[in-house]
Amino acid sequence: TMNAIISLCHFCEAHGPQVIFCTQPLHPLERTISTDSDDTVTDGRKAARSSSITNEPTTPTSAKNEFCRGCSSEKTGFISRDDDAQVNYISSKQPYDREVYSMSRQACLKSLTGEVCPGKDGPIFFGNDQQGHVLSYTFHINDTQARGSCTRYSILVVMMDKIYLLNSWPFLVPHLKTVIEHITKKANVVYEREKIKLPLQPPQASRVRSKPARSLIDLTDDRNIFKILHLSFVWILKACGNRITETLLEGPPTEDSIIDMEKQEETEEGFCLIFSKKVNIDEVEEESSNNETAESPETAEEEGPAITNIRHLMKILGEDKFHVLAHHVVIGNQIVVQSSMASIVRSVFNALKSLLPKGCCRVIPYSHQYEESWKCNFLGLVPEVELPLHIMSDESFVLVEISLEDQKPTDTQTKEEENDDLLKRLVFKMASPTTLPEKAPNALYKMELALQNEDLTDTVVEHYLICLKEEWMNKVKVRFKFTKAGGNRTAEDTKKLMQVIGAKEEDTPLLKFWMQGLSLQYRQHILTASKSSR
């Protein structure tokens, strides 16, 4: 639809130019807002306003309550609902809104008395920003009883958007013409019929008698003529709005949001696509709780003390310990956290997750048995669980034990203070059979710099991490494409590629691990694209 009003006007012998029927789309929402403008009048002036509505100065006919058939159209009006677009098309004698009404009336006056159309009948455009812009198509209808045997009519399209209205001219004019031809054709039939009946009456006689004007219904002998007009106007409004459409492109969703979606699909299907092998009942439970935490950390939040964010964790751990732990995290070593405080374990994982792309985070927050690293890189364990021996020797992992320093809390403490106090007494012990590479990935250094920088607020740090992760995921994508889809590559080429993406030797473990975090969608896209292009 368009923000336009189409109206039918005629020049009445008795009342001058009159709007007799108009159709406009009303957006339910728009309707409420627009009428609100009436309310800008204050209480004090309300009386004045309402009386001005009743004695509408610009509607002489209605004020005098005069009835003129020529100026009348439909008593009740019509409505068509376009449920799809949430728009109602309403036709009535006049627009409901006073402003809109006076605008239509102005347009009507100009169309039938002011502006001149070369050749009398035809389309013209006129208007200004205050009174709206008008496309007017004037025409005449033959009427044996009218002065000069014809009555002048016009169809107006009024819009506030001048550009849109003029852009639509090539569409509107031919279609208005179609409607007009439809009307005049019917009227001509009546005219010819009546002319035969009254062949002797001289044309002047009608002028003297000044018969009351006839309505369009009489002139066309079609009681449904206004219904037809309504439908045609609705047709034009809607079609004109549909005529020109546009397509806009938007960027691909981030890897993180694709991962989110893929995870959602997993839960919907009850199983996960990635980890669907060897699933026993126990694991499914684990998996679903995992999803729970991943999707809505707030709801999964348990009572108890918690670490608020990655910065907080850094503070508690100390920068050196944090660095070691974070290094393990970003290159994908399994992080096993053992503690009796489930809430702490969860919050540690939540904090650490912000160092990784979502696709790289596989969390089993609090388990009663050891889970292998292919299942999870973040594993929370109750303190009693012993790590299997073969794990100790084979796997790359770091074991973090969180315990409490001994100190009896006093009874007077509130819960918050208690939690606070508790956080202060946390003791982290880290042990790993895995030796870390000498140099940590550059991305980690950058992350740490931002975390340490007190000038950056938490929000900025959050965005900083997003930027960094996106940047490195883009490198990962290139590397993925290069190794998985690029065919045989020499070591020379690989070296060059690393140079191109601005990665160094120490970044390789990170790139390799993060590659696992690429969404299935992306992988498939790259693989199929490279196949098709070959």
């Binding site: 403008s37 009743t54 004698k93 455009f125 809607k238 020109i244 459409t245 397509t247 950058k446 060059k496």
Partner: protein
């Protein structure tokens, strides 16, 4: 060696053919000399012709006729100011006029009437008209000439001065200053409309917001606001003119008419193309008309040079139109072609990458000051429409990976909030999507056409816009008309309206109420509250007790006696809570001031709900109804006494009422049921009083509707109405479908929680909300006023999307990217030229761009990028600098862009597929986008980011100082609240 050279040449030729192939540009037939200019004046009802280009002759040829023709000229203009005009003749010897007017053409009287209209009409401001003179088109501007500044009366053709004076003129546009306090920060800056503004990193925020705003700005709902502002301007304008000494004393009106096309019947096909072009490009053509108008205004005050000035301006106008219409366009703009031919995407991609990499290889080194990176930096900084195209879409439920994909919200938005896609496309092209709003153009200068062409081709990937489609398969209205007329004939009588029905017996509660008619139920809550709602809307509202006057007859009265109406006045306590007050008007009738706090943009969908309440109250106050003397039937008597069946013709007032009152009802309900409004609820009101409220309004409504529907009066009684009354009586809260309840609470959420920071809102979500919000206000079918109208089912219109418009004549994407030209061109978003001497024209265009914005909304700044491939420089000319001529600033390449270009080049070297290189390019653009978000966040959070600590920012956030202008510009599209004080 020679052979090699030939080979190379041939290769080169083939390459350049790659992007020149396809439809070769076919220059449309156009004869600019057929553009005819007519100028009339009207003073005190006297009209006269001032100028007609058809009757102008060059003086050199007809020297001897000088005196005669100037006499002719004088005679024509006599009614205006004879002394002044005669001066023209006197000064003839001093100033050698180049042109002379001869006798006007025979049709001048006819045209005079067409231009001005048959009767003198009072008008404010200028108006634009279009007429058809058979195959010719006539474009008219009627205006009251504003006098250029005093100095310019001495009349050298000093355009700059006239531009200045134009700038000072109180044009309606200038009213909407973006800096205005209390104005919502919108892309258009012109309107404060509550909009569910997504937070900073919302996807496609800028694109959608702009379009939404346009829809709002051009819908009829904005009329009141606009008019009140415009009238101010219109009143001011004449005053500011005043009588100007030295100029023609009295105010006259001028009509400037331009006739396009020749007299003789032309090729119809050609005509049609020009007409399409004319109507789709009207906003650009109007810009040139405006320029012409300004020249005419100046000429008007400069008697002796009048004809020359006008002729000169006309020649410029002719040239501009000629350029705009006939300049060869880029045949394969890369971005658009990729969009509209997905099947050729691969091919286009290959070509593009090859060209891009070859240009980077050649022209992106130290020797040429990293020309390519610099140029791309400038283009990305100013032609901002690429930003939404890399903005990550929200979770799009899709099984396959989507690279740049079409935004789904567009269709929904277009349906519910109609806007002009052509306008949107034009804005995209000019990069007018940031805040503050700027428009940009790029000109590539160079002697070597092939290099310039290649660069143009490459840039057509970075300068992006939406693809516009035309749906030509709309079906025929004609056949539709024939079909419905058949149908309509069959349906003979309009069925009795199923509107509201009366209870057979007087409802007990109602009766009690009316017996108790003089009791005044007055639950007031008055006092001024300073309300802070949702942390954002902040205003003080006078909570007056809201009165509901019910004028009605007790049941026993006969309805005929109006004067003895008992007045039942009930003061209605509305539950005035924060939500409600937040939109209520303040006492002095001021407009709602929606001030967005600078630190967050919060969705405020609920505003609608509250307006409804306001509405409901106003309508509840129905003095209109009773004070209307025509209304002889009293409200309640007609309803309650069955004898009364006065059939009345519905007056306009009735119809108006129908709308107003009915709306109030549903809105009232909505308000009552909005769970989100934490109120002292209606339950606090004593039960008996509660009951009063709803039926009162309901009944008024009902009775009004019945007046319009006399047939319904005696129809089966009882049903609906009684049921409704009953339900109201019992619960005091009308039933609400669970849906609307859910909606209202959902809608209100975003504004209430998390006030500090909004999470990102995806366009999909926004759509859903908007969609729901409209549902919610329309979820009251059973009592919607609109039920009273005869419902006709929608005509069916196919809305299939058709192929994109490839022709230049009907869209801007294919029209404003020009090819290489031998002279500078106005209007074009991108073009190349060998011309180097165009600074003057460029300055004029800069001024025109801001003074007469083609986008029909105020532009803060116009920026032209001029890249010289001979000197390897990229310069920016801005309309903002007050210096004359404008300052030229050299562009420095952003390191981010350099890295991006380098990476693409290297990947291509490593034989990665072109498609992947392009994907990587897009990923890099997205990285830049993320960085701008980080910067915006930083600026938002940091307490005092003085302009001095650029170094600090760049070091902290890890980018280069050279990246800052780019990042800040991007931030303007997603974080409009940052009036960034940096750079």
């Amino acid at each position: 060696m020679a052979l090699l050279k030939i080979f190379q040449n041939r290769k080169c030729g083939r390459n350049s053919n790659l992007f020149n192939k396809g439809k070769e540009w076919k220059t449309p037939d156009f004869d600019p000399s057929q553009i005819r200019l007519l100028l009339y004046s009207e003073l005190d009802g006297n009209r006269s012709i001032l100028f007609d280009s058809k009757s102008v002759i060059k003086v050199e040829e007809k020297q001897s006729r000088c005196s005669r023709s100037s006499k002719c000229h004088r005679r024509e203009t006599q009614p205006n100011t004879s002394p002044n005009t005669s001066a023209g003749e006197n000064s003839c010897p001093r100033y050698q006029a180049k042109y002379q007017l001869t006798k006007p053409c025979s049709d001048f009287k006819t045209l005079e009437e067409v231009l001005f209209g048959s009767v003198g009409m009072a008008q404010k401001g200028s108006s634009l008209k279009v007429h058809f003179l058979w195959s010719q088109m006539l474009l008219t501007k009627v205006f009251i000439p504003t006098t250029p500044k005093q100095e310019s009366l001495h009349c050298d053709l000093d355009l700059d001065q006239s531009y200045q004076s134009q700038g000072e003129q109180t044009s309606p546009r200038l009213i909407y200053q973006p800096e205005k306090p209390h104005t919502n920060v919108t892309s258009s800056g012109s309107f404060h409309t509550p909009f569910p503004s997504p937070s900073s990193n919302a996807s496609s925020y800028s694109s959608m917001h702009r379009r939404w705003m346009r829809s709002m700005a051009t819908s009829f709902e904005g009329i009141k606001k606009r008019n009140s502002q415009d009238n101010l301007a219109a009143q001011d304008a004449p005053n500011s003119l005043g009588p100007q000494p030295g100029c023609r004393k009295r105010k006259s009106k001028l009509a400037l008419g331009i006739v396009f096309g020749g007299d003789q019947k032309q090729n119809e096909q050609e005509n049609l193309i020009f007409q399409n072009f004319f109507f789709s490009h009207i906003t650009l053509i109007e810009g040139h008309l405006e320029k012409l108008k300004m020249a005419v205004e100046k000429a008007y005050c400069s008697k002796n040079k009048f004809v020359d000035i006008v002729m000169e301006a006309l020649e410029i106008f002719r040239g501009d139109i000629m350029d705009l219409y006939t300049t060869p366009r880029l045949s394969e703009p890369v971005w658009l072609s990729m969009m509209s031919h997905p099947s050729y995407r691969y091919q286009i991609c290959e070509t593009f990458m090859r060209e891009l990499v070859s240009l980077i290889n050649k022209f992106d080194s130290k020797n040429n000051e990293f020309f390519m990176s610099t140029l791309v930096t400038a283009v990305l900084t100013h032609h901002l429409a690429w930003v939404p195209t890399v903005t990550p879409a929200g979770g799009t439920p899709s099984k396959t990976y989507l690279h740049n994909h079409s935004a789904k919200w567009v269709d929904t938005l277009a349906k519910t909030h109609p806007y002009n896609p052509l306008w949107a496309q034009l804005g995209d092209m000019y990069g007018a999507i940031g805040y503050p709003l700027k428009i940009a153009r790029t000109i590539i200068v160079g002697k070597k056409a092939d290099i310039v062409r290649k660069i143009l081709y490459i840039l057509s990937y970075f300068i992006r816009c939406s693809d516009v489609h035309e749906n030509s398969e709309l079906g025929s209205l004609k056949s539709f008309l024939e079909d419905i007329s058949l149908e309509a004939q069959e349906e003979d009588k309009t069925p009795v309206q199923e509107g509201f029905k009366f209870p057979t017996g007087a409802d007990e509660k109602l009766e009690n109420y009316y017996n108790n008619s003089n009791s005044v139920i007055n639950v007031t809550d008055s006092g001024t509250h300073d309300v802070h709602s949702s942390g954002d809307f902040n205003r003080s509202v006078d909570r007056k007790s809201l009165k509901l006057d019910l004028h009605g007859h007790p049941i026993l009265h006969e309805g005929s006696d109006v004067k003895r109406n008992n007045e039942v006045e009930s003061s209605l306590e509305m539950n005035q809570d924060e939500g409600y007050c937040s939109i209520v008007q303040s006492e002095d009738g001021e407009k709602i001031k929606c001030r967005l706090s600078t630190d967050n943009v919060v969705e405020n969908v609920r505003i609608e709900t509250v307006r409804n309440v306001n509405r409901a109250i106003t309508n509840g106050t129905c003095e209109e109804k009773v004070t209307n003397p025509a209304n002889t039937t009293s409200v309640f008597s007609s309803k309650l006494s069955h004898k009364e069946a006065t059939v009345k013709t519905p007056s306009t007032a009735d119809i108006k009422h129908l709308y107003l009152s009915e709306r109030s009802l549903s809105m009232f309900n909505e308000y009552m049921d909005d769970d989100s409004i934490e109120t002292k609820t209606i339950d606090e009101v004593p039960e008996d009083k509660r009951v009063v409220i709803h039926p009162a309004i309901r009944d008024l409504v009902t009775s009004q509707s019945l007046e319009c529907l006399p047939e319904a009066l005696e129809a089966e009684v009882g049903g609906t109405h009684q049921r409704r009354l009953g339900s109201v009586g019992q619960t005091a809260r009308p039933k609400v479908s669970p849906l609307s309840r859910q909606i209202s609470s959902e809608l209100s959420k975003p504004s209430t929680y998390n006030p500090g920071r909004c999470r990102s809102v995806t366009p999909t979500e926004l759509n859903r909300r908007r969609h729901l919000s409209s549902t919610s206000s329309f979820d009251f079918d059973h009592m919607d006023p609109l039920v009273h109208f005869k419902e006709l089912s929608m005509p069916s219109i196919s809305s299939e999307k058709n192929s994109s418009i490839k022709m230049f004549d009907r869209n801007f994407g294919r029209s404003l990217l020009a090819d290489f030209s031998d002279h500078y061109l106005s209007n074009f978003v991108l073009h190349g030229t060998s011309d180097t001497n165009f600074k003057e024209r460029l300055i004029i265009d800069l001024h025109m761009a801001t003074q007469h914005p083609v986008l029909d909304e105020p532009i803060t700044e116009a920026v032209f990028i001029v890249a010289d491939t001979d000197k390897w420089t990229v310069d920016i000319m801005s309309s903002k600098s007050s210096d004359q001529p404008p300052k030229v600033s050299r562009v420095v390449a952003s390191q981010l862009v350099c890295n991006m270009m380098d990476a693409v080049q290297q990947l291509h070297k490593l034989k990665m597929s072109s498609e992947f290189c392009l994907m990587h390019l897009e990923d890099r653009l997205q990285e830049i986008y993320f960085k701008s978000i980080m910067l915006a966040e930083y600026l938002r959070d940091s307490k005092n980011p003085g302009p001095c600590d650029i170094k600090g920012i760049t070091k902290l956030l890890g980018f280069d100082a050279g990246d800052l202008p780019l990042l800040v510009a991007i931030a303007g599209t997603h974080s409009p609240h940052l009036s960034l004080g940096v750079v």
